[in-house]
Symmetry: C2
Subunit: 343 residues, 2 copies
């Protein structure tokens, strides 16, 4: 069923059907009803490809997300879900693009072949050629995270510097003096991932400010790595009494490592960090953490992107979020002399 068939059955021209549907020109009430009746009868829906071809809009946004190689975290899942919902509210679909090994290929598909009207980029790096590339093209896009030079670009970000610092201050206030930092995997840090860098930065500066003794670690995105990382921490400095982590996927492993070393949380050891709230609540004791507002970030990103698509010349906008630390049950007073009994 195409628009010509509808027109024939309603006894009008194709353009009249088009106009009746779009409302861009006046159509008599009688004609409109006649057309509507035929449409309802046949269950007609205009072909998206044809429409996209004619008016240069696909009504689809691209979501460029990290390859499955790095494991997904709960935060990313929540984010994807909220993007899809927010997009639906604006009448947009979401096309997924793995920015994997040959990120160029899928990038070319989405942009070069004009499959999408705009794109949301996840897992931003401080120096990100994708952002630069899109900026040069003037292609509507919103980055999740901010590059080293975010001026003139559109983005929604988490203030990892401030959040990591807040974690440090929280621990310092509790009396902890020897604190470890558990970052994302080394390869991501080396690749320049924004959250890993700014988080490390915020941690290091705040720790220096408070005169803490610190060690920083990179840790794979899985439980086994978390456990190994924790063993290393206690090996390097058994007097460590707390840690801050950005690594959601390693959290379960960190907890396991602590349990096996006989350190009770929070009595002997405090744990905090930056983690999506829903996932902070799955561990026992529940994690005191800066809750990543994935849902809010998704909504903001879509809102900004749609705004930018609608008005290509609007001045750049952004949102920098810094949620407060949610006090749960994984941090407590630091004694300076942790009990070291093994079970």
């Amino acid at each position: 069923m195409n628009i010509g068939e509808i027109a024939r059955r309603a006894g009008v021209s194709r353009s009249t059907v088009s106009v009746a549907l779009s409302g861009k020109r006046p159509v008599s009430e009688e004609t409109r009803r006649k057309i509507q009746r035929v449409i309802d009868e046949l269950g007609y829906r205009p072909n998206a490809s044809a429409r996209a071809l004619a008016n240069g809009r696909t009504n689809t946004i691209g979501l460029v997300f990290p390859p499955a190689g790095n494991h997904y975290t709960g935060m990313q899942l929540d984010f994807i879900g909220s993007v899809v919902e927010a997009a639906a509210a604006h009448d947009y679909d979401v096309l997924l693009s793995p920015s994997g090994v040959d990120s160029d290929r899928s990038f070319q598909r989405m942009l070069g072949e004009r499959r999408v009207d705009g794109a949301i980029l996840m897992e931003i790096r401080l120096e990100d050629d994708r952002v630069d590339h899109l900026a040069a093209l003037g292609f509507p896009s919103v980055a999740i995270g901010r590059t080293a030079h975010p001026e003139g670009t559109w983005w929604v970000g988490l203030d990892h510097t401030a959040l990591a610092a807040a974690c440090v201050h929280h621990l310092a206030d509790l009396g902890h003096r020897r604190v470890a930092f558990v970052n994302r995997p080394e390869q991501l840090l080396r690749a320049g991932y924004e959250s890993a860098h700014r988080g490390l930065d915020g941690f290091t500066k705040a720790a220096a400010e408070r005169g803490l003794t610190v060690r920083t670690y990179c840790c794979g995105d899985d439980a086994a790595s978390g456990q190994a990382c924790l063993e290393q921490i206690l090996l390097d400095d058994p007097a460590t009494t707390a840690l801050v982590t950005l690594n959601e996927a390693a959290l379960g492993g960190l907890y396991r490592g602590l349990a096996q070393a006989g350190r009770h949380v929070p009595r002997d050891f405090s744990v905090t960090g930056v983690v999506a709230g829903r996932w902070a609540e799955t561990v026992t004791p529940q994690l005191t953490a800066a809750d990543v507002p994935a849902e809010e970030m998704g909504r903001h990103a879509v809102d900004l992107l749609v705004e930018r698509i609608d008005q290509p010349d609007a001045p750049p906008r952004h949102h920098l979020l810094a949620p407060p630390i949610s006090l749960r049950a994984s941090t407590g007073p630091g004694t300076g002399t942790p009990s070291t009994e093994t079970r």
Copy 2:
């Protein structure tokens, strides 16, 4: 840049450019090189909408996934990731469609407006009108899960009946006599979700076969519900020594509930169930479970769907997976008289 511009600069007709690109007719080597040079120079890529309109194929598959309302589980995340990768390997994009409150709306968008060549349906119900609808339309689709009458349809499923039964046998072999079953939320069970029903079925039958005393529970998809559910289990029958769960999101809460009731896992209480392997390893002790092969399911689903798109008249195919139980650390001998000390 469109195909006409390329043709003009290469001094040939539009059809020659098209043919040179598709290779569907012979083109002289010289002409081909001339065209290729111009294309490389200008970075031309054919417009996806125009191509889709012309040959009736969008090269996109739709992934109909559950609304954000039900919390996402790690398994779903892994699944989505693998679908995207497998699709990319077949040169397909993936369009996400929330099958939310007004599932019809997004369904209509994807199918009615021909945005996709085929669809993968998640969260199947025993009686699923979406599956029936698509079958009636003859629209290529693959269901993740099988309906009550899967004959004649394409699907990839997990044998929840067998898996739940395997969990029961594992526990019975260890000597457990009083076992609880923790299912997905009640609203999902009532709505007829396949995994919830078949899992419950397999559990109940196997338990009867082994003469176990059982109670079954529905539990919300979050840690707090898991904790509450566990309290209820011990309240209803303090002599319970083991549980089987399908509810990945509640797992952390179940563990917390056990810890707070002073039941040590696996010494006093055994836990097992059907959970994605990666997530079974995040809890301590690591969960002995039938590992949901989300990655494999995603690959299979895409392979089947692409096959069906390419040959619309092929006979229905399916994959029923029943991974073995991975022995980890959360189950142990059932004493019949559990210790009930509180800490």
